[in-house]
């Protein structure tokens, strides 16, 4: 949300600049929704609903839902929770699923590929604010950071903005690697990678192990070949 506040006013600028829009922060959630400052989604399920209902809902832009439990409470379930269930039940996968690889996922339309706008790349010397602006313009959740030889060295995500306070915003003016190091307590997060030949089962295992919503696909030279998101994975099960 702070990301939004920063970039909304700089989106048409050639050089992004930090903008602190205190008006936006002072709005109520209702006003922010009414003014389209925030978009919303509300998908509800009952505990007894077949999981397929959730699979169908989560295969696209819906990333979380609210569940009415039989004890009268509500629970939030996200895409990664669903993928965890799919992985726990790998014994139920049919032969077709078990034989699938990441390459099969990438070759399915409209799945991601390097031609797709969802695969965004920035160089390691790019300032974080410029990178997030690009992410914002392309309405993406993340982007791949590469070195001068085009090799993957980091993964920048919208979630890296999580928890940034007003007084922290100046770190957005640092290069992306330095930004990532600062927001992750001095350690740049490991990039979750796979190859085209990686079995779907192992891809799903990686998503669950790292609780990541996307995995970067690299070639033998360590260069980006594509990206697989949780939506892509879930779509396989529809």
């Amino acid at each position: 949300m702070l990301g939004y506040v920063c970039f909304k006013k700089s989106v048409t600028d050639e050089v992004p600049r930090l903008v602190q829009d205190s008006d936006a922060l002072n709005k109520t959630i209702r006003q922010a929704l009414d003014d389209s400052l925030m978009t919303s989604e509300l998908h509800m399920f009952k505990e007894s609903d077949p999981l397929m209902l959730m699979i169908e809902a989560f295969q696209g832009q819906v990333h979380r839902g609210l569940v009415w439990t039989e004890t009268g409470h509500e629970a939030m379930v996200s895409q990664i929770d669903l993928v965890r269930v799919l992985y726990e039940n790998v014994s139920r996968w049919d032969d077709q699923l078990l034989k699938m690889s990441v390459g099969d996922v990438l070759s399915r339309e409209p799945f991601a590929s390097t031609d797709n706008q969802r695969v965004l790349v920035v160089h390691d010397q790019t300032h974080a604010i410029t990178a997030f602006k690009k992410m914002f313009i392309h309405q993406a959740d993340g982007m791949c950071v590469v070195d001068s030889n085009g090799r993957i060295i980091a993964d920048l995500n919208a979630s890296d903005l999580e928890g940034l306070a007003d007084h922290d915003l100046n770190i957005l003016e640092k290069p992306v690697l330095e930004f990532l190091s600062i927001v992750h307590d001095g350690k740049i997060p490991e990039v979750v990678l796979c190859y085209r030949s990686t079995p779907l089962k192992h891809l799903v295992e990686r998503c669950v192990k790292y609780s990541t919503h996307r995995v970067l696909v690299q070639n033998a030279g360590g260069k980006l070949e594509g990206i697989v998101t949780l939506s892509d994975v879930i779509k396989i099960f529809v």
């Binding site: 922010a32 919303s40 397929m52 959730m54 509500e74 939030m76 929770d81 965890r84 999580e162 099960f237």
Partner: protein
């Protein structure tokens, strides 16, 4: 491809594995700044938003601290 796979399991299985065990919800009259603070304090990335009157409370949206929900 795997319709029977989906029907063999229920949403209950996903609730069981959900990381966010306790539900934090937000009043729609809360400011965006306070909402951010609440999400950060609870180390969560999204929360349902409710509206309420004297007699009932109703969920109207789910908002997120990041991602397309916010960046779009």
């Amino acid at each position: 491809m795997t319709i029977s796979f989906g029907n063999a399991l229920t949403v209950r299985d996903a609730v069981r594995t959900a990381k966010q065990k306790s539900l934090v919800s937000l009043d729609q009259n809360e400011t965006v700044e306070n909402a951010l603070r609440i999400l950060k304090q609870n180390r969560i990335q999204s929360a349902p938003v409710y509206q309420k009157d004297e007699t009932q409370q109703e969920f109207v949206a789910i908002v997120s601290i990041f991602g397309k929900t916010v960046l779009s």
